[in-house]
Amino acid sequence: MLGLGAGAWLPAVFHIFTHAFFKACLFLGAGSISHSASHHSFDMKKDMGGLRKVMPITFTTWIISTLALCGVFPFSGFFSKDEIIDNVGNNGYQMFMIIGLIGAFMTAAYMTRATYLTFFGEPRGASAGEHHDEHATAHDSHDSHDSHDAHDDHASDHADHGPHESGWRITLPLVLLAVLALSSGLLNATPFGEKWERIKTWVEPSAEVVMETAPGGPGHSNVLSVPAAGEEGHHDSPCGSETPEEGVCYAPQLVHAKFKWSKAMLSLGIVFLGIALSWMVSTMLYSRKDKRFVGLTERNGVLRAGYNLLINKYYLDAFYEKVIVKAIAGPIAAAAYWFNQNVLDGILHAVAAVSRVFSGWVYRNIDQRVVDGTVNNSGKATKGAGGVLAPVQSGKVSQYGALLFSAAAVAALVLVIINS
């Protein structure tokens, strides 16, 4: 996203591509552990640890993908991620480049911690043989498709129940993904020169020259001005590799940062710093139980607040669920419905009530007294005259209808007169 936002489209798309392999490999690795070692738990602190010995394939693929995710040379993430950071800076977004480097540092740190907790140290919880009730049955099904178990490596009384490598149905995809995580970066290996940049030729827009000037509206594209290519840019023309002679160039300007090992070394250094620091802290915290670190979040108020904020995912879920969803589905929806039932229908019912009162009044005072009175006095046939107004109060739908029709005719006449 950073790459897209800062105009580094090519590395952004490329990163999505490489990311697919190593992140998929990591997820599958996590699944492999949960399936075969930790009894369907994903709790690294509680149920894992020391798994590198019993799950060598999962471990190896995990490490490859982790290094790819961190952007370590020569894994795929290096070629894509480093390019994003480099290009972001090159396009004039120094601030974002620094943030990107901080992000790379933190990625290295949290992945190292996760790796440490999962694969190093002593087995804990389910991985140490503590098992849930359903394990006995679950394990039978595991065994049936396990081609190579790692039970022998696990010197424990719980050999039958203990963690073991997953079957080939899990490890084969892991290996394939790991190979891709390792190699897919070479498809656009900028450091090795332009002929290695294959993805680039597929992804980059080719300039389209349109002779007439297009009017505004949807689909109208502007020539995007990204800071001009300097001496470091691959292309100097505003239209990428194809410069139109005349007309409008409908391709955004593309500028690529020129790869330099000095810049790559900076980010690699940061990544290794992250790995090293995280490893140190993890060892002190989880292995040696250093008193200075253990329980720090409980002792220090600032750190506790930070920890709570993180553990609650910045409270965003709570905000969405407790505030937005609850308000809309609760009081706001109820208020709208109340409005519907009481205000809108209330108006309707009021109109109906007034009409009934009015028609009753017409019946008593006009129909019965005036019309009937006149008719009775004159002694003439009353049906015609009575028929005009009697239906008004009858409550029969068809007669309301007739009334409306006649009202419509009168109103039409009025409208015609007004407008002529």
């Binding site: 589905a329 709208a336 409306l404």
Partner: protein, 515 residues
């Protein structure tokens, strides 16, 4: 205007065939229910057959041209004639009305609502069909009005006789509300007639001459039509008859109401109000658009507040027709085509939802959402059909609902020249938010009634006391529903089947805006 007059008997036969069925039903003794059902079924099958024949005969290359045109003297005194025709806008709705009636008849073979009397029930349904089909082919305002009103009576009786507990109130409200709208619409028709020289009620004639009227005259005449059509659609704030009528109506009535009757209003805008009065349409469009998006949000909020499944589905129509009206109010061919598509899609999907609601009610004897649950466990087929319909209704890409909703929203980005672009872009954003609410109320409904375990009061497997309590979808239901489910999927995957028919006709409707 160019017209095709071949096979001009076809529309009249298709429209009045149901009335022939009614005549036959009249001579069948009331007690002979089997024969009554047969007559009704055969009549509606024959009607659909004529409809299919019409589809074959329809020149799809000329979808913008009126076809099968027939013009006969009718009431020369008021210069009204029996003038009918069919183009790409009318065709889908005309055919849909036939199919829906057939499916409703099939469903009714096994589901005559209390208090029974299939003879009257089927007769009313067939009369209703004539009214609906006639409205979509009428090319004369008086003829249109007659058919438009003809629809009211059978529906009034359907709700009033076969409806739920509060049927008296609902049916009267439905009738009076629509009547109120019709009265103003008639005023507008008459005014239009007189102002264009009292020459003719023919729609093509009025399209040619209506545009020449002064703008303020147009605006007033449009106002009358607006009320008439807006009540029928229904648009906020004229919609309050709808939740009552839909909820109280028997399942068959709800299906027809949602699938066809609501479209009479939107069709009226597209066929009459907008092409005849282009200047007024431009003046009114921003207000119509505003009411449309209010309806989208308001309808969705109403849905979220409901505790009754059927009433929730009814309220969702307010929101969905809001999308349709938003598309129409852009006055662009893109928006209107989307709206027309949305009308058919809503007919298929909401019709389907009402069918499911009816079958849920039949089995559980309640539609109280809080009392339902675990339908997927007790009746997996019914549960999945409900889920499918909910997904379609919320506008999932790949199903028909999406192609009515999404292009309508998109069309608001660039309304017709002369309309306030900023206003419509604000509408676009609000409407897009409405889709989120639509997903919320439909998925929430589905989650509450279909997932989890059945509530204790319905938890029995039906073996103990009532063997038929929870049988899954039966064969009558499959027959009635399968065509709808298929159509929802097919139009979802290949929307161009309908777009290519609608678009040329919509272009013709909008010619008044290009000159």
């Amino acid at each position: 205007m160019e017209m095709l007059r071949d096979h001009n008997w076809m529309l009249s036969v298709g429209t009045f065939l149901p009335l022939l069925g009614v005549l036959l039903l009249l001579v069948v003794p009331k007690a002979n229910e089997q024969l009554i059902k047969k007559v009704a079924l055969l009549t509606s099958i024959a009607t659909v057959a004529v409809g299919v024949w019409t589809l074959f005969r329809f020149d799809f290359g000329n979808a913008g041209t009126m076809q099968f045109v027939d013009e006969k003297t009718w009431i020369p005194l008021i210069k009204s004639s029996y003038y009918i025709g069919l183009d790409g806008i009318s065709l889908p709705l005309y055919f849909l009305s036939m199919v829906i009636t057939l499916l409703v008849v099939i469903y009714s073979l096994d589901h005559i609502p209390s208090p029974g009397n299939p003879k009257a029930f089927f007769s009313l349904m067939l009369v209703l069909q004539t009214g609906m089909a006639g409205t979509f082919i009428a090319q004369d305002l008086i003829l249109f009005f007659v058919f438009f009103e003809l629809v009211l009576l059978p529906m009034y009786f359907m709700i009033g006789v076969w409806g739920g507990e509060n049927r008296q109130y609902a049916s009267l409200k439905f009738f009076l509300y629509t009547m109120f709208g019709s009265a103003l619409m008639l005023v507008a028709f008459l005014a239009l007639f007189f102002k264009t020289g009292a020459e003719s009620f023919a729609i093509p004639y009025l399209v040619e001459n209506g545009g020449a009227l002064a703008k303020n005259v147009q605006v007033w005449i449009f106002a009358g039509m607006f009320i008439g059509f807006a009540v029928k659609v229904p648009m906020f704030p004229f919609h309050t008859w709808l939740p009552d009528a839909h909820t109280q109506a028997p399942t068959q009535g709800s299906v027809i109401l949602a699938a066809i009757l609501l479209k009479l209003g939107t069709y009226g805008f597209v066929r009459i109000a907008i092409p005849v009065l282009p200047e007024a349409a431009k003046a009114w469009a921003p207000y119509i658009g505003a009411l449309a998006v209010i309806g989208i949000i308001y309808g969705a909020l109403g849905c979220l507040a409901q505790t009754d499944m059927k009433r929730l589905i009814a309220f969702s129509s307010v929101a969905h027709m809001g999308f349709v009206m938003l598309g129409i109010s852009t006055l662009t061919s893109f928006g209107m085509t989307a709206a027309m598509f949305g009308m058919v899609a809503h007919g298929l999907i909401t019709g389907m939802l009402f069918f499911v609601a009816g079958s849920v009610k039949e089995r559980y004897h309640t539609l109280e959402i809080a009392r339902l649950g675990g339908i997927l466990k007790q009746m997996p087929h019914l549960g999945w059909i409900l889920g499918f319909s909910c997904m379609a209704s919320l506008g999932l890409p790949g199903l028909a609902g999406f192609w009515g909703e999404f292009p309508a929203i998109l069309s608001a980005y660039s309304p017709a020249a002369g309309l306030n672009e900023t206003a419509f872009r604000v509408y676009m954003v609000i409407a897009a938010l409405g889709t989120v609410l639509a997903a919320a109320y439909l998925l929430w409904l589905f989650q509450r009634v279909a997932f989890g375990e059945p509530k204790p009061e319905f938890a029995g497997d039906g073996h103990g006391h009532d063997d038929h309590a929870f049988h899954d979808v039966n064969k009558f239901e499959w027959f009635a529903w399968t065509p709808l489910l298929i159509a929802i999927l097919v139009f979802g995957v290949v929307p161009n089947l309908m777009f290519k028919v609608l678009d040329p006709a919509v272009q013709v409707v909008l010619t008044g805006f290009k000159g």
